[in-house]
Structure formats: structure tokens, C-alpha cells
Symmetry: C2
Subunit: 216 residues, 2 copies
């Protein structure tokens, strides 16, 4: 099997691949919080194992085999997050770090039974889709609030920033998954957004609007 470090690299390459065709050494180094030279070493190792496509100086993509492993780890991560929130009553800003450890528990039988135990949830506490036991899931097509115009709106279905600080802020504003919102006004000066939600009206910064995802 693969080491914990290998799994973390594969998962990171997967996440970074969503925003860039080829993932660069420096991107990975920043994301994983390590040095570029360490990344190079690991990329060689993963390439030897056939888990990535690596051409020196040109960045990497996941191979089919590598992607399968990455998706499986993401499946585990999201199922454990769901478990922590739904069964153990943690808040959505408290579970990520624990799931970072739990995603490396190796047994697939375990994770499949956990999935069944919870009724095959489709989304984790942050709105991210949970791959099924075959690695299949719908990449939902969400837009940041900052990308829609006045009088448009939708349902909050995800977040881009998963930091506890951001999640706590959203919770305090009742901007939680499933909430219906409409853009009422966009401030010309700082592009902050005034939202209309059930009952009340509230203002969010451009920064927040960029990181809050809705389905139209």
C-alpha cells in the first residue's frame, strides 16, 4: 500500500488539478507546506509507482491509478466528516483536522459500512460531494455569490474556504448549507454584496462572496 505522505501528495495533486491542468512543484509545495525540493523527491517516487505523469520542469497530472487512490481518500475524508457532524455532534468548522487523520485508516470495508450506517450521504458538512464506493460522484456546478448579478440568487451549497474562521463566520450569519439567498445590491465602491435571506437582509464582503458557493 501507500504511505501517509504519498496519500497526502496524491490528494493534494487531485485538489490542485481542479484549478489547473498541470500542477507545478511550487504549487504543491505551498499547498502541502513543504519545500519544492521535497516535492521533487516525492514526485519521482510517485512517478516510479505509476501514480502520476511527471515530466521534469513541466508539472504533474494524476494517472488513472493515482486518481483512483486520491478519490478514495477524499471519499473517506468526507464520510468521516459527515460522521463527526451527524453522529458525534461536532460543528462543521471542527471536523476537518480530525478527518485529515481518519482518511488514512486503510480498510475499505470499514468505510463502506460506515457509508451504509449513515444512509449513503451525498454531501459532506461543507457541501462537497461524497464519492460512492466506486469513486463516482457528481461535480456540482456551483458559482460564487460574487459571480452573480443583482436580483439573482440561489441556494447555498458549498464553500471554497474551509478554514474554521470562515465557517464560524458563516454560521454566525446563518449562511449555512441549504439557505436560500438573493443578491439585493452590489456596492460600487468595494463590491461588497447585500443579501436578502428569509426574513432579514445582510451585507457580506467581496472576500466572503468569493468563497460562498450557490446553486442557481
Amino acid at each position: 500500500m501507500n504511505t501517509l505522505a504519498e496519500e497526502n501528495y496524491l490528494k493534494s495533486i487531485y485538489h490542485l488539478s481542479l484549478n489547473a491542468e498541470n500542477v507545478s512543484t511550487n504549487q504543491l509545495a505551498a499547498f502541502i507546506n513543504t519545500k519544492a525540493s521535497s516535492v521533487t523527491d516525492m514526485l519521482k517516487k510517485l512517478a516510479d509507482k505509476g501514480l502520476i505523469n511527471y515530466t521534469p520542469y513541466q508539472g504533474v497530472t494524476l494517472s488513472k491509478a493515482g486518481e483512483k487512490i486520491a478519490v478514495n481518500i477524499i471519499r473517506k475524508h468526507r464520510l468521516w466528516e459527515y460522521f463527526l457532524v451527524e453522529k458525534l455532534d461536532f460543528k462543521w468548522d471542527e471536523v476537518h483536522e480530525m478527518a485529515e487523520e481518519m482518511e488514512h485508516i486503510s480498510s475499505n470495508e470499514l468505510i463502506d459500512r460506515l457509508d451504509k450506517f449513515m444512509g449513503y450521504p451525498k454531501h459532506d458538512p461543507h457541501g462537497d460531494p461524497i464519492p460512492d464506493c466506486n469513486g463516482l460522484f457528481k461535480i456540482h456546478n456551483l458559482k460564487p455569490v460574487s459571480a452573480i448579478g443583482v436580483h439573482e440568487g440561489g441556494v447555498i451549497c458549498g464553500v471554497r474556504d474551509h478554514s474554521p474562521a470562515f465557517l464560524q463566520y458563516l454560521e454566525k450569519q446563518s449562511l449555512i448549507i441549504g439557505k436560500k439567498i438573493t443578491v439585493k445590491e452590489i456596492n460600487e465602491f468595494d463590491r461588497s454584496v447585500i443579501l436578502q435571506t428569509a426574513g432579514k437582509e445582510l451585507q457580506i464582503s467581496r472576500e466572503v462572496a468569493n468563497n460562498l458557493l450557490i446553486a442557481l
Copy 2:
């Protein structure tokens, strides 16, 4: 915090300490499945950290700090085993290896909530006591079936051998936790034991009798 290897050594020293005042280097090496020289290296490290009392050539005991860590890992191990059997429907012979990984998930908040979620169970699937969040538990005073005489009996409350093969055998014979048994006869030749259980009678080898624990 402590590394995975350190945690495994502390746990092993704890288990071996139950049968011997001082735990020897070779005992540990055999138990952990490593070489004596590796054990020596780790013992120095644990002694430097103040987690064990180590005098070269004389074996080790856990310090108060080391024991606390060991008991906490055992608590996690047993709670996860209970979870796997009671919530995810694994059989008692299937859970040990998974729990060996899960016991290293670091969060104590997580394990305390898991404990609460399951209703604060007192014993794991193999009958072993689960330490509470303060590390307290009753070491129950069990006897192997091989240690009692004819016409004596009790309730099955634990096993000495935790191997899948042994556990599967017991299950097949319906010799499970909570079962009431009485010794009906002891074969003089091979010291095998004939048991009377609810309804039927069955014979077990000396080997099995040695590893099956009962409360009188």
C-alpha cells in the same frame, strides 16, 4: 505529541507488564515483531522523554506519564472495537487490526464523544474493560476455564487469545461473552474439558480451556 511507534511501544509495555514486573528487551522485541536492538534504541528515547523507567540490561516499567498514555490508547482501541461491532456490524474476530490503526487518531474530544454516542460501554467485544475518560477501569478478576474443577462453572467474560482463528472457533461453538458454562468432566489423559452449557454439552481442548476466561 508522541509518534505512532512510541505509542505502540508504550501500549506493548503496558500489556506485557500485566504478566511480569519488569518487561525485558527480548519480550518486547517478540511482542512488537522487531529486533532487540531496535527495542533498545526506542527504550532510550522513551526514557529520555520520561515515559518509562529504564536501567540498561534490567528491563523497563512504565512511568506514571507513560502509563497514562498507554491506557488512553487502550481506551481508544477498545472503544473503536466496540463501535465496529455494535454500529457497523463487524464480527468480534474482524475488528482488532482496524482498531490498531484507529487507536492512533489523536483527538481525545473525538473519543469522548464516541464514548457518549455509544452509551459509555464498559467492555469491548472481547470482554476487556474500557477505561473511562479519566483512565479508570476495573481489572476484572477472571479465571481460565482450565483453572477450575469439576462441577464448578461461571459466565464467559473474556479471552486470552485474540486471534481471529480462536475467536471464530469460539463463535462456532457458541462460546461467546455472557454464556454460562459448567465443567462437567476433565479428561485425565489430555486434560481436555467437557462443558455443560444451556442445552448442550461440548468438549474443548486444554489449549482452549486455557484461553477462555470466566467470572465465577
